[in-house]
Symmetry: C2
């Protein structure tokens, strides 16, 4: 928690619990946001995405980031009241202005619009500018899956990735998410940064005082580093693939593709033009892209084939490591199951303490452990 | 050249040239195909894609593969006469049956259809089954770029990629291509296998008797190998990213995404169900997906922003290696320029000899060097 941290000086009690029910986490996020005048519907949209991230095990995109969202709303850099407007549209496409609203508010609007178009014409492709951090990319495609559709989402982000042969970061970690429905509530959910790893993984490693593997990152001088702090201090992540010998230019090319779908198509800042992610003095003005695709407009039996493909992959013989083969979405499904069995989400005590301090700062009831 | 090789026993002359004009290569491919009764239009569609691959420097996808296409047409495994038919369509989507025609014939039809829909509604998304090897994936998006559109293509392929934690290949190298127009005939052209490298790179390494870097491939026992022959002999390629530590599951997830867009959406064989690529006794029944997206339906000034983004990347400071930073499409542009300056495409003498033998075998005038 880096944005409000310095302002949270009240000492938390020693007996705080580390396990919290989803509903309680959601209640807390909503009340924090509402304490700053954000309407309940908008606060709830944000809370749902943050809780989903934690339940799915992507802790770098969960309540760990509440501080950032709060800070931007409190400084009026992000407009918690705003709702998006459509700039232009066709039966299958739309260009939307997020009007600087909360990322999930803007993004739910766009995904719903894409879904509506996909139901009518087979596909909806929606680009949006003027948005803010939208949480886990996978959230929006999963909404499409609930309607029996394939969903996709893309977002640009602040610069963090170095091009192959380069020294400095000039592209965001620009994630791609694609989800598709299978039988019996099974689904494929790919949610991946186009960098080697997400920036969040480095933040978590830094928080835990752990080194990172060679080949993930460069320091601010463009030299390889295994210290996450050196990357976080104006360094860079390598693109998916890594060095040129291992086709890192493909990962960089995918990041650029995402930028084309986001900033370039929607006419907003892109790549190096996007504000630095630690510098919250101006609106983020991020762009996203949402796609819904309707299998009913193609061959019958889509979900049967999806299930067969996924089950075939899972049933493959593992290598010497002996670990079962997973398809995209399986690790998150396993984590969701664990949270259910545990009766709540378990947070690091450092995060729990900071959230308690935030509660006191905002005069909101702190989270009550399960 | 592995398919007809054994039947080509006439000894070629010693004085064959290695440089050939594009028109002459195209003439040769067309005549070879027409010698087997393939209509000129269909033969030309194939010839154009193969020549484009050689001009762009993707020799594993150029005339090097003519032997495979010839073999399949001669054995009536692929129908050189066939043209595709639309199974169903909406204003923005279509499902097409390739009717087992030549890959480029089928794919040009689908891309043209996607372009037509993108001009009318902003987007065209076309899936096709019953096709054959379509050459370089980048060819079709580049057609969209000629119309001022963003183009995309995807294809499934025979199984060659191992899943993270697995021993055996169960997914194709499933390429993704995305192209977008910029100012003054500049363009972004990403054309990448979702595996660490393409299968063709291993074939070329094997042809040149060169080892491959560690981490690219496994042998048929699921063990790492640096011998391309060991991979080609029922081994596997790693997905983009490589091992689990370097996020290879992302590359595998992208390959699966491509399969969803191809075999799963179009209701045809997918992944492990696709015939082995060296076993040409039954139709390939490959599936592809083509997308055209019209920037005019989004924010004005698309090509200006594309040019700015690409030029910014190219102008970035290089690392110690000192090599200029390139964007997707630049290496191919450089190769195209070289072919122009050279006054023709330069082929390895072994390939030239095999093509001479093929000419004699088919009673077609051999290629005349430049």
């Amino acid at each position: 928690m880096s944005f409000l941290g310095e302002r949270l000086s009240i000492t938390p009690p020693d007996n705080l619990g580390t396990k919290y029910r989803e509903e309680e986490v959601e209640r807390f996020v909503v009340e924090c946001m509402m304490s700053q005048g954000v309407p309940r519907a908008n606060a709830t949209a944000l809370a749902e995405v943050l809780v989903a991230a934690d339940v799915r095990g992507h802790i770098s995109h969960g309540i760990f980031r509440l501080d950032m969202y709060m800070s931007e709303v409190m400084k009026k850099i992000c407009d918690g009241h705003a709702t998006p407007t459509i700039i232009k549209e066709s039966v299958s496409t739309a260009l939307v202005d997020g009007n600087n609203g909360l990322g999930p508010v803007v993004s739910n609007f766009c995904m719903d619009l894409a879904i509506k178009k996909a139901k009518a014409t087979g596909i909806g492709w929606v680009c949006v500018k003027g948005s803010n951090h939208f949480g886990i990319a996978g959230w929006y495609p999963m909404t499409a899956v609930k309607h029996g559709l394939i969903g996709m989402s893309f977002t640009n982000t602040s610069s963090l990735v170095v091009p192959t042969r380069g020294k400095n970061n000039i592209m965001g970690t620009n994630p791609i998410s694609v989800a598709a429905p299978a039988k019996k509530d099974d689904s494929f959910v790919l949610d991946m940064a186009t960098s080697m790893v997400s920036g969040g993984k480095l933040e978590i490693a830094h928080l835990k005082n752990q080194p990172i593997p060679e080949g993930w990152a460069l320091n601010k001088h463009g030299k390889p580093t295994t210290d996450p702090k050196e990357m976080l201090d104006d360094g860079s992540l390598l693109p998916l693939g890594g060095t040129e010998l291992y086709s890192g230019y493909k990962g960089f090319g995918l990041g650029m593709m995402v930028e084309i779908f986001c900033g370039i198509l929607s006419g907003a800042p892109y790549a190096h033009n996007i504000r630095t992610w630690t510098k919250s003095t101006s609106p983020a003005d991020l762009s996203h892209c949402f796609v819904a695709l309707n299998p009913a407009f193609f061959a019958n039996g889509f979900e049967d084939r999806m299930s067969d493909l996924m089950d075939h992959c899972r049933g493959e013989e593992p290598d010497e490591g002996g670990k079962a083969i997973q398809v995209a979405g399986d690790p998150e499904r396993a984590h969701t199951q664990k949270v259910k069995e545990d009766g709540g989400i378990t947070y690091p005590i450092t995060l729990v303490k900071t959230l308690w301090q935030l509660a006191k700062h905002l005069d909101v009831t702190p989270m009550q452990s399960a």
